[in-house]
């Protein structure tokens, strides 16, 4: 059982949970994820780690309430227990001195990106951050990134804050030397970003979030085509070279269970939001 020590709402439908998990906190690195299961009829959901505190022996998760399980997780309060939390899973992000690293985060994945960017900074890199959201109200971790980074840019889909879209990155890449790009965000954002960076020949690492069931190499639901080969998101990833990923296939596979997910959410809402 894993106790929730702290819960806060970062934006509408975006929550942060700090959870007591001593062993995981001791082993986990940026880029890795955990799998949660909330009750005996529950599903297993992967969430990328947004931080660890070795002293407090906690892990931090930031997630968006999009489906039934994440809604249920969002309804949990400080002192509640999460029955199942397995991890750390997946490979850690590659952290070393690259030089000048462009960190691009979108939506809720800005939080795990901050975990990675902090490690990159600590490894002696200059960190340039681009954080984006659908609109200005959904933007998280802005102040944290301001403190951490040498440069920060904000982008929104609707232009309500900062740049609209990611096109401005072309100018940025033309104007300054970037040694590496790392991205965590919606698949479509990482696809667009990879297309932007490709002509510049700058290595672009993307953190993929394919559908997973076990997250431990057993189901193969998370398979993605990278450079023509089939890889498992959980075992071989979750981070891959964005210039080699077949994003269209990934999006297609991510949509597989959308109708069922919508149905589960709808029924969850109708049952008053606490149905198990």
């Amino acid at each position: 059982m894993y106790r929730i020590l702290r819960r806060s709402e970062l934006a509408s439908n975006i929550d942060l949970l700090e959870i007591e998990a001593a062993d995981v906190a001791r082993k986990a690195k940026p880029g890795q994820f955990v799998i949660l299961n909330l009750h005996e009829k529950g599903e297993r959901i992967p969430l990328t780690l947004s931080g660890i505190d070795e002293e407090k022996r906690t892990v931090t998760l930031v997630f968006c309430e999009v489906g039934k399980t994440s809604k249920q997780l969002g309804q949990m309060v400080e002192g509640d227990f999460i029955p199942h939390l397995a991890g750390p899973l997946g490979n850690p992000s590659e952290i070393k001195h690259f030089g000048r690293v462009l960190c691009v985060g979108g939506g809720v994945m800005i939080a795990p990106l901050y975990f990675q960017a902090s490690a990159l900074k600590k490894a002696g890199n200059k960190v340039v951050a681009v954080i984006g959201a659908r609109n200005k109200d959904l933007l998280i971790y802005e102040r944290e990134f301001e403190k951490l980074c040498d440069e920060i840019y904000v982008a929104t889909d609707d232009g309500s804050k900062g740049f609209q879209g990611l096109d401005f990155l072309k100018e940025l890449l033309k104007g300054s030397k970037i040694d590496r790009v790392v991205a965590m965000g919606p698949t479509i954002m990482m696809k667009t970003l990879s297309e932007i960076t490709k002509p510049f020949g700058v290595k672009t690492i993307v953190a993929l979030m394919p559908v997973m069931v076990d997250g431990m190499g057993m189901c193969g639901a998370c398979r993605v085509t990278v450079g023509g080969d089939t890889k498992f998101g959980c075992l071989d990833g979750p981070e891959f070279d964005g210039h080699l990923v077949d994003f269209d296939e990934l999006v297609n596979r991510q949509m597989m269970y959308l109708p069922e997910e919508r149905m589960a959410l709808l029924m969850h809402r109708e049952s008053g939001g606490c149905g198990k």
């Binding site: 062993d23 995981v24 082993k27 299961n37 009829k41 529950g42 599903e43 297993r44 039934k68 399980t69 029955p83 199942h84 939390l85 397995a86 991890g87 750390p88 899973l89 069931v213 076990d214 431990m216 190499g217 057993m218 189901c219 193969g220 639901a221 398979r223 993605v224 085509t225 089939t230 075992l235 269209d248 296939e249 297609n252 596979r253 949509m255 597989m256 269970y257 069922e260 997910e261 149905m263 589960a264 029924m267």
Partner: protein, 468 residues
């Protein structure tokens, strides 16, 4: 004169059972069990025991059934086998104990040893499970990685000897392949749960959600004070065909399909949260028990047509005959001597069909089975909206990746001394599918028994040396 024909076991009607996930074979009642037990010749030099990987005293437990001493019967089985309700259901007895049965060799049906084992195990579950009185701890600690058949066997055997056992399970429910792989209609979850409880009652502790190789390495376990480690992590990594279109929507590995259905109870969606989608026309690729389990599950989830595509002929199918017959009874079609060459997508990126090629059998290959080769120009298409790839599983590579001391084969299986289960790392033992590649529940249990014995020898020696 002994009856030559076996006492039949009642089964759910195929027309009924394709609409539910309840158990197909219903087991013997007391009367039919005794009648079947009466058929046993009670050979003075029993051949059946030689066919049992864990060496159950088969004539002795059957003799007790004849005398209606069911408690003594199950006690006799459990001296050697801690998971009899599971084994009675899923062991391939027809190629083990029953194959050796003298009755069978005399042109009759062999005694239904599996059916009788299941009967006494179920009898005990109904009447309360006796647990041997608690044995005092001998102070030595053993870590068991994986709670499948080999791990549970090691845990039970060593717990009975007074070892402190900690079982680490990566998933959220213990049981390994018994809960994620084998479907409810062949092995109900409550049976596995009861057998797992028994191992816990013997004194073993189970920790779920712990992925060894990630959260702790084998080295960590020794550093944490475990005196020996048993690795029974099975073969959980699905193989794919590596043909075009395999990543289309609607193409599952058998593992994903069965994990969704079994472990996550996807058949009960939306009451349970994990969905499973099955179309109208389902193709299952492969000829083993996993292929049969997948095909029969698909049927129960509402598929209109289910075809099993296998590249060899019926004779070479590795599935148990009983399961193959059950599948055919239920209306599963077999597309034999056929191999898929590519999966064809529809407008939405989902699978819409399969292109196959007919095969013919040539000379025997290294497995002893005749090698299938494609028949030129025999390509044809089948409309299919769901595909389940059930062509085998490799060992999960996570432990090996973080434990360089462990020697592995080119297939990723661990290299052990078959007589002891000892790996190349001091104090680390292994058994089951992680060593043999995908095999049976009972062979994993047999390997578990061997490893338990060697761990006991190893630790007895070690403590003895320490005391000197």
């Amino acid at each position: 004169m002994k009856k030559l024909a076996r006492t039949p076991m009642s089964k759910q009607d195929p027309k009924e059972r394709i609409h539910n996930f309840s158990e197909v074979a219903l087991g013997y009642d007391e009367k039919s069990a005794v009648i079947e037990a009466e058929r046993c010749l009670g050979c003075p030099n029993p051949q059946c025991v030689k066919g049992c990987p864990v060496g159950v005293d088969i004539p002795a437990f059957i003799r007790y059934i004849k005398q209606r001493k069911f408690a003594e019967a199950i006690h006799t089985v459990k001296e050697k086998n801690s998971l009899p309700a599971i084994c009675g259901r899923v062991c391939p007895q027809e190629v083990q104990c029953q194959e050796q049965c003298v009755l069978g060799r005399a042109k009759g049906d062999p005694t239904s040893i599996g059916g009788l084992e299941r009967f006494v195990a179920d009898w005990e579950l109904r009447n309360g499970v006796g647990v041997p009185s608690k044995i005092a701890s001998n102070g030595a600690r053993v870590a068991v990685i994986g709670s499948g058949p080999s791990g549970l066997t090691v845990a039970a055997d060593l717990a009975k000897l007074g070892y402190e056992i900690m079982i680490f399970e990566a998933l959220h429910i213990p049981g390994g392949v018994l809960v994620y792989g084998i479907p409810e209609f062949r092995l109900p979850k409550k049976i596995v749960e009861a057998e797992v409880r028994y191992v816990e009652k013997l004194g073993a502790t189970i920790k779920t959600d712990v992925m060894i190789g990630k959260l702790h390495t084998i080295e960590d376990l020794f550093n944490d004070g475990f005196d020996a480690v048993f690795i029974g992590t099975g073969a959980g990594l699905p193989q794919f065909m590596k043909i075009p279109g395999e990543n289309l929507g609607g193409v599952y590995s058998a593992n994903e399909f069965l994990i969704r259905v079994n472990l996550m109870a996807g058949y009960a969606f939306p009451s349970y949260d994990t969905p499973i989608r099955v179309g109208k026309k389902v193709a299952v690729i492969g000829g083993g028990n996993v292929a049969m389990d997948s095909a029969r599950s698909a049927l129960r989830l509402g598929a209109e047509e289910v075809a099993v595509i296998y590249r060899r002929s019926r004779e070479e199918m590795p599935a148990r005959r009983e399961e193959l017959e059950n599948a055919e009874e239920e209306g599963i079609e077999l597309e034999l001597l056929t191999n898929p060459s590519r999966f064809i997508g529809d407008a939405h990126g989902c699978v819409g069909g399969i292109e196959c090629i007919r095969m013919q059998l040539g000379e025997p290959d290294e497995s002893g089975r005749r090698r299938p080769t494609p028949v030129k120009g025999s390509e044809f298409k089948m409309d299919m909206d769901t595909v389940i790839v059930a062509i085998g599983r490799y060992p999960n590579p996570l432990i090996q990746a973080t434990t360089p001391q462990l020697k592995t084969t080119k297939w990723g299986t661990l290299i052990v001394d078959p007589a002891t289960g000892r790996t190349s790392m001091d104090g680390a033992y292994a058994g089951g599918d992680i060593v043999t590649g995908e095999a049976t529940v009972i062979s994993a249990m047999g390997a578990g028994k061997i490893a338990a014995r060697s761990i006991h020898d190893f630790l007895t020696r070690k403590t003895h040396i320490a005391r000197q």
